[in-house]
């Protein structure tokens, strides 16, 4: 059947192509110049016509040409495009030169494309081959470590959760720091839509095997065309388009398993009992009180903790109960093809991941159709359409007793299953057994499912008005419909104590976000030396979000989970909010003699989010480039094959604040005991506007030895002013903060990219390396200290989110007291600070607050090696983060020298026990807070290097696959997060707790799950 369809399709194509009488057929083979291997899928087009074809599985093609003067153009991704005059011969074999790191590749910019060599801004491009089939949930994770100056961090190992991305550092204290994401011209929804602080990630709805390229616009020249929302950089995602020629099918499948990247060691029962007996004795508390507690934990059976010889003796490793082996499988099929009038790309994908945390899973089913049709020589139109459904079995946030990782707080004395009930220990039966709620109860007696239907699409039309002048109009939308359903049965009562008979809620979020872009493009070269590329247009975006929510309590039994069965409907709400942006933009790129480049752009942005007094902002940028290697004086040397200097400067804005922040508001949510009430909720600020970032960038791009070595070096400085800042106001006003434009911060950095083709030939080896440093500094907060959670602060003169608190000085060898450095400022006679008092105190209130850590990495980088030999391919990527600190927010519970009943990390065995002991762990004193207050005791270095991805593949020889009637068969194995090299003692150094993650609060580990280490086996089949 498929064959018939294909044949009829081909028939229609051949009918459509006008075959002229004098046409003759040219055939030939296309091979790679490096190793002579045949290249399947090379596009061959007849210049000046729309006629084209593709090479088959063994690199052969056949095309009709009208005359000997006809020119055929051969193009293929990763190779230099070749144009050849046909001549008289009927056989034409072509060898294409490898061009995998070419400076001639096309880079997508806002509202257009530019050749890399002509680019005057800084854009990092990651292409589809780098992100395809990476076993992660969302596209940002797949580019981790591959774009210089782009810091990507998954907060923990939960599936489908939010990912932090910082392009050249944080540019705001209160407003958003995530970049703007644009998919095929549509700014998309990326904010978490979660009802809890455990975020969802709307980017996980995108099947990134459909993505052709990801361009990260980093400097002002590249980003300013996105105006008031470009300060944090812009990520342009371009999906795959059709191709003229034979219809290609590609099937990808992989399957594999995953495990946690790290574990921690915990006290066993003997160690636990010893520690807590000691801790209670040191605090002057009774032994019997401790022993009765042990017995309670040991489900009432003393021998479980006391008698190692007893068959009942229990020593549970709780962590092993929740960190499980996950698995993943993904299948996707795409079809790509087209003729001279219509090209298309269609795909369907399925991903199912069971996480490394018990009861955490993610499933995505997605489909896409991208079509473009040339109606006439002047008019073309098209549609890009995608639909996805994701289903996520989610978990509580890190700061919930019910989140799996908090199970480590339970004493090892308790059995997993309570022998009295046969179900998880502590499942409610009237008296509590464990110290805290047992998260395993949630596994059987709760559900937390989020289902998202997501469609992103656009329709566009393009009209060629004159030669070089065209107009494009597009209308795009992003529709997100999310349903979150949770249910907690009566067995979870200990954790839902006000809902003894079960509680459930159901929340719908619907966002309709639409966008229209309309712009002229003028592209012409005058007198063969003046190349002009100009764009003028407008865009309008409107996004409306509706939320409805209902909560019910008291269910007849755990079989009933919908609110319809709840005897009490205890809560409900409906909300609506919206914002709009109206923008006008213009850009002119001018190129003289292919060597002098100039680009000017400007955008006027108006937004409903800003105050009435400053609704519109203007964001200009200018950049220039000089391609030195094109100069005549460079023609005689061969070392430097390419050299370009570029500089840019421009303004961008940040408008990522809540809607309506400029208005004085009253809220009607202040009812009391069934009587409606209202309250003042916000003070007005009619002057509220975007914050502005001025960015300067200087860059060098170079190629050496015929581009065998190429690279880029950039230095930049980003200065943000008029910070959108939640300014603390005196609480005596009845308000806590007001959003104002006040304060300044800066980011300065350096980026280096190096791509080398180490060995070229039958054995091919390429390396791409990037490293970047960024220094963030808050220069003005008007003297305020903005507090985050724990010791995270924003303070003037420091990087955002530094840990600011008492400095731990270890343990007094005499008595086991925790000590802190006083760090009081020492002043000379003139009142100048000359230093700090480094004497110690055991009273933490006597210790001055100082900077004790910085969660912002000093350096980030990555290196990818790719090797090919015959059909074998091998690639491995390392990713590294250096110089950042982590604050263990759970430290005061889990590494607290027996301060409270929580099980302790193994390192607490080294606690102070007798005078003269030299250790960092204070004497165990029950309930006495000996060294457990927030301090640098819980700060550690979070640097790491990770073997992020290793892939080894084998492509079957053409001779075999041809027999199978296929065009390509590749089998491969991939490992993700294979090894992590770090000094961090926690589960995983890539951590940013979902319960404590804001602009200021970063780098917090709070019972945060480790990442997944995944190994997959996969196959790619083309036919």
């Amino acid at each position: 059947m498929r064959k018939i369809l294909l044949l009829s399709f081909l028939f229609i194509i051949s009918m459509g192509a006008s075959v002229m009488a004098q046409d003759r057929r040219v055939t030939g083979k296309v091979t790679s110049s490096s190793d002579g291997s045949p290249l399947p899928g090379v596009s061959i087009t007849l210049k000046g016509s729309t006629r084209g074809t593709q090479t088959d599985a063994i690199g052969q093609y056949s095309i009709l040409v009208p005359s000997s003067e006809s020119v055929l153009t051969f193009s293929f991704v990763g190779f230099k495009t070749e144009s050849v005059v046909v001549g008289v011969k009927n056989k034409l074999n072509i060898s294409l030169e490898d061009d995998s790191q070419s400076l001639n590749e096309v880079v997508v910019v806002g509202y257009g494309t530019v050749q890399k060599s002509s680019l005057t801004g800084n854009i990092a491009k990651v292409s589809s081959k780098d992100i395809q089939n990476v076993p992660v949930n969302s596209i940002e994770q797949s580019i981790q470590g591959k774009a210089a100056g782009v810091f990507i961090e998954a907060g923990n190992g939960k599936l489908g959760q939010g990912i932090k991305m910082r392009i050249r550092g944080s540019s705001s204290v209160t407003a958003g720091n995530q970049p703007l994401y644009v998919v095929d011209g549509i700014p998309i929804i990326t904010d978490s839509q979660s009802n809890t602080s455990s975020p969802t990630n709307p980017l996980a709805d995108i099947n990134f095997n459909d993505v052709e390229s990801v361009e990260v616009l980093k400097d002002a020249s590249a980003a300013a065309i996105y105006g008031a929302r470009a300060s944090n950089g812009v990520v342009l995602i371009t999906t795959k388009q059709g191709k003229v020629g034979k219809t290609n099918f590609e099937l990808n499948y992989y399957t594999g398993i995953s495990n946690a990247t790290g574990h921690r060691d915990w006290l066993n029962t003997a160690e636990y009992v010893e520690l807590f007996k000691e801790a209670r004795a040191n605090a002057g508390l009774s032994l019997s009180g401790g022993e009765s507690r042990f017995t309670r934990y040991a489900v009432g059976e003393r021998e479980r903790w006391e008698n190692p010889a007893s068959p009942k003796y229990t020593s549970t490793n709780w962590e092993d109960q929740v960190l499980v082996q996950g698995d993943v499988k993904q299948l996707d099929l795409n079809v790509r093809g087209g003729n001279d009038k219509t090209i298309f790309y269609a795909s369907g994908g399925y991903n199912k991941t069971n996480g490394i945390l018990i009861k955490n899973s993610f499933e995505r089913i997605s489909g896409r159709l991208n079509l473009e049709h040339k109606a006439t020589e002047k008019i073309s139109l098209g549609v890009n359409f995608s639909l996805a459904k994701t289903t996520n079995n989610r978990l509580s946030n890190d700061n919930a007793f019910s989140t799996p990782m908090q199970i480590v707080a339970l004493a090892p004395l308790s059995p997993v299953i309570d022998p009295r009930t046969g179900i998880p220990t502590d499942t409610y039966d009237g008296a509590n057994v464990t110290q805290y709620y047992n998260p395993l109860i949630n596994v059987d007696y709760s559900s937390n499912v989020t289902t998202v239907y997501r469609s992103i699409g656009n329709v566009f039309g393009k009209y060629k008005i004159l030669d070089g002048l065209s107009f494009r109009t597009e209308y795009g939308y992003d529709l997100l419909i999310q349903n979150e359903e949770t249910y907690y049965g009566t067995e979870t009562k200990r954790n839902n104590s006000t809902s003894p008979n079960g509680v459930g809620d159901n929340r719908f979020v619907q966002i309709f976000n639409y966008n229209t872009n309309n712009f002229f493009n003028y592209n012409k070269t005058f007198a063969e030396k003046h190349a002009v590329d100009a764009t003028l247009g407008m865009s309008y975006q409107e996004s409306k979000r509706d939320v409805t929510y209902v909560e019910g309590k008291a269910f007849p039994s755990s079989s009933y989970k919908q609110i319809i069965a709840a005897a009490q409907k205890t809560d409900g709400t409906s909300e609506e909010t919206a914002f709009a942006f109206l923008s006008y933009f213009a850009r002119v790129n001018y190129k003289l003699d292919n060597r002098y480049l100039l680009s000017l752009s400007g955008r006027v942005d108006g937004s409903s989010r800003f105050g009435a007094n400053s609704r519109y902002g203007f964001f200009p940028a200018a950049s220039a480039g000089w391609v030195v290697s094109e100069e005549n004086f460079m023609k005689d040397q061969h070392t430097l094959s390419f050299l370009k200097l570029r500089a840019s400067y421009g303004l961008t804005g940040n408008a990522e604040i809540q809607n309506f922040k400029s208005a004085a508001l009253f809220s009607g949510d202040a009812g009391y005991a069934g009587v409606p009430g209202q309250r003042p909720s916000q003070i007005a600020n009619p002057d509220l506007k975007w914050e502005t970032t001025a960015q300067a960038d200087l860059g060098i791009e170079f190629g050496l030895l015929k581009d065998r070595i190429s690279g880029e070096i950039d230095v930049y400085s980003k200065n943000t002013t008029d910070l959108l800042l939640n300014v603390n106001v005196p609480g005596t006003t009845g308000f806590k903060t007001q959003l104002r434009n006040t304060g300044k911060l800066e980011n300065k950095g350096f980026e280096f990219v190096l791509n080398t083709r180490n060995i070229v030939g039958a054995f091919n080896w390429t390396t791409s390396f990037n490293i970047a440093t960024n220094k963030n500094k808050i220069t003005d907060l008007q003297g305020q200290v903005i507090s985050g959670s724990f010791l995270s602060r924003a303070v003037e003169g420091q990087s955002i989110g530094v840990f600011y608190g008492p400095e731990y000085a270890g343990v007094d060898p005499k008595n086991g007291d925790a000590l802190y450095y006083k760090n009081t400022e020492v002043k000379d006679a003139n009142g100048n600070v000359t230093g700090r008092d480094r004497s110690t105190t055991n009273d933490i209130n006597d210790a001055s607050y100082v900077v004790i850590g910085n969660p912002n990495p000093k350096w980030i980088g990555g290196i990818t090696n790719t090797m090919n030999y015959k059909g074998i391919d091998l690639s491995f990527s390392f990713q590294g983060v250096f110089g950042n600190d982590i604050y263990n927010g759970g430290g005061k519970f889990m590494s607290a020298n027996g301060d409270y009943w929580d099980n302790q990390t193994k390192d607490q065995l080294t606690r102070w026990r007798k005078p003269g002991d030299i250790t960092n762990v204070p004497q165990a004193r029950f309930d006495s807070q000996n060294g457990t207050a927030e301090s640098s005791r819980y700060v550690s270095d979070g640097s790491y290097v990770r073997l992020k991805n290793v892939t080894i593949g084998y492509t079957l020889p053409a001779s075999i696959i041809k027999k199978l009637n296929l065009s390509k068969v590749r089998i491969y194995a991939t490992g993700q997060n294979v090894f992590t090299f770090t000094k961090y003692k926690g589960w995983d150094p890539e951590v940013n707790s979902d319960a404590y993650s804001t602009n200021v609060t970063q780098g917090i580990d709070f019972y945060s799950a480790p990442q997944a280490k995944t190994f997959i086996l996969g196959v790619n089949i083309g036919f």
Binding site: E575, S607, A663, L665, G668, Y672
Partner: protein, 446 residues
């Protein structure tokens, strides 16, 4: 050709222009302040908002009362929860940035600002309701300042209230943040004067009956507490007597039946309301086991139990792993703020101190309370016995530290002792406030 080009350009240009007014998007969840306070109903709804704010868990929803028990502890209870702030309070070692110190401050002033908004707009209220609305707003403001002054300043009877710093008095609503928003601390004396003025006005303005909202007697009851705290026993006695003499309230026959009630009992003079939809009983959150809807954070030690006689029904505890008070064991029960038995105890103490018998003799008043509790009547009373009765009757209701301070009692906990005026029995002015407003002076010891 030319014509077509012009048409196309016009069409394209029209697509480029003309959506300017689309940026005027109005909020729909909230409303603009200019339209919020225009009718009598608007102001009445705002007043309800003040009750809602006062019922917040960090205000009279329970945390203020909880902290009055925790900070006074002498070994009769234990705080075993994971929350850092109440633990610091229990240990009498508050850090400068104690979160509860910040939340109580902020949420109480938030309530005051709403009350100030009501008081600034009573002109819009219909004549029939005007004095009731004004009375309720003044009741709330007076009560809130009374809570603040007791938590953040030296107690009235410690040193000189005229010079001891109290809390800032803000009596007008906040329309914008400007220089006038940065206020210093008024003296303890000034704050007490304002509290007495507000509550006295409220007692005059309020009706006797007003559902579960503030009434004439609620104002008098709080006023008796304020006078008692400031050592003005005559006024304390008279205010308590006015409540008792009104005969609006009667003791619930069984002591234990007074507690865990969804609505106000005959004994409740004022209580914060909690329903399944709205409000929180934060005392239950901390004092109750998970079986009773709490976190099981505050357990009652043997030392406390030893205070009760054998058949005292106020010996009201249950065991769920640990021992918990029976007073706070239903998350949807109201939070008792003032009960009639407190009025008897106050009148008895004041009469005893003054040697008077206004309303009844001290021994008769004490026996009203004892009889209801199921213990034998006392034949005579001493100040000590009156205060012990007060301790047993009002345990875990948020009176402990205040009674300790006004009676100048020293807390002995293990080997530590804390005189009534120890600086660590006073909360710090929140570090965030000190950093924000340089007119504020920090308390001793922080």
């Amino acid at each position: 050709m030319k014509k077509r080009l012009i048409y196309i350009s016009l069409l394209a240009s029209s697509l480029l222009m003309g959506c300017g007014n689309k940026l005027d998007i109005k909020p729909v969840n909230d409303i603009d302040a200019s339209t919020a306070l225009t009718t009598s109903g608007d102001i009445e709804a705002l007043l309800v908002g003040a009750y809602d704010s006062m019922g917040d868990g960090d205000v009279l929803g329970g945390n203020i009362q909880r902290d009055a028990e925790l900070i006074a502890d002498n070994g009769e209870l234990s705080f075993v929860g994971t929350f850092t702030a109440p633990r610091e309070i229990f240990r009498k070692k508050l850090l400068r940035d104690d979160q509860q110190a910040e939340d109580t401050w902020f949420d109480t002033y938030r309530t005051i600002n709403i009350a100030n908004n009501v008081l600034a707009n009573t002109g819009v209220v219909t004549a029939a309701k005007k004095s009731k609305v004004e009375g309720e707003a003044k009741f709330i403001r007076g009560l809130m300042y009374f809570e603040l002054i007791r938590v953040y300043a030296k107690t009235f009877l410690d040193g000189n209230p005229l010079s001891n710093p109290g809390v800032p008095l803000v009596l007008v609503p906040t329309k914008q943040v400007d220089g006038s928003s940065f206020v210093g601390r008024n003296s303890v004396q000034e704050v007490y004067a304002q509290i007495i003025k507000d509550l006295t006005d409220a007692e005059k303005l309020l009706p006797v009956s007003n559902g579960f909202f503030a009434t004439k007697n609620a104002a008098a009851a709080i006023l008796s507490r304020v006078y008692l705290m400031s050592g003005d026993y005559a006024n304390a006695r008279d205010a308590a007597d006015r409540v008792i003499a009104s005969k609006v309230y009667s003791l619930v026959p069984g002591f234990q039946d007074e507690f865990n009630t969804a609505s106000n009992t005959s004994e409740d003079i004022f209580a914060m309301q909690v329903t399944a939809q709205d409000g929180v009983n934060s005392l239950v959150t901390f004092f109750a086991s998970s079986d009773k809807g709490g976190r099981g954070d505050i357990i009652i030690e043997d030392k406390h139990l030893a205070l009760y006689d054998a058949n005292d029904t106020r010996n009201f505890f249950y065991v769920d792993g640990d021992r918990f008070t029976g007073k706070w064991a239903d998350p949807f029960a109201n939070v008792k703020i003032a009960r009639l038995s407190e009025m008897y105890l106050t009148r008895a103490e004041a009469n005893f101190r003054l040697g008077t018998k206004v309303g009844a003799s001290p021994v008769d008043d004490i026996n009203v309370v004892r009889l209801r509790a199921g213990v034998l009547p006392a034949s005579s009373v001493t100040l000590q016995s009156i205060l012990k009765e007060r301790r047993l009757e009002l345990a875990f209701e948020g009176h402990w530290i205040h009674d300790i301070k006004r009676t100048k009692t020293t807390i002995i906990k293990g080997t530590d002792s804390y005189p009534f005026n120890a600086p660590n029995l006073i909360f710090p002015i929140p570090l965030r406030e000190i950093n924000t407003n340089n007119k504020l002076v920090q308390n001793e010891g922080y």
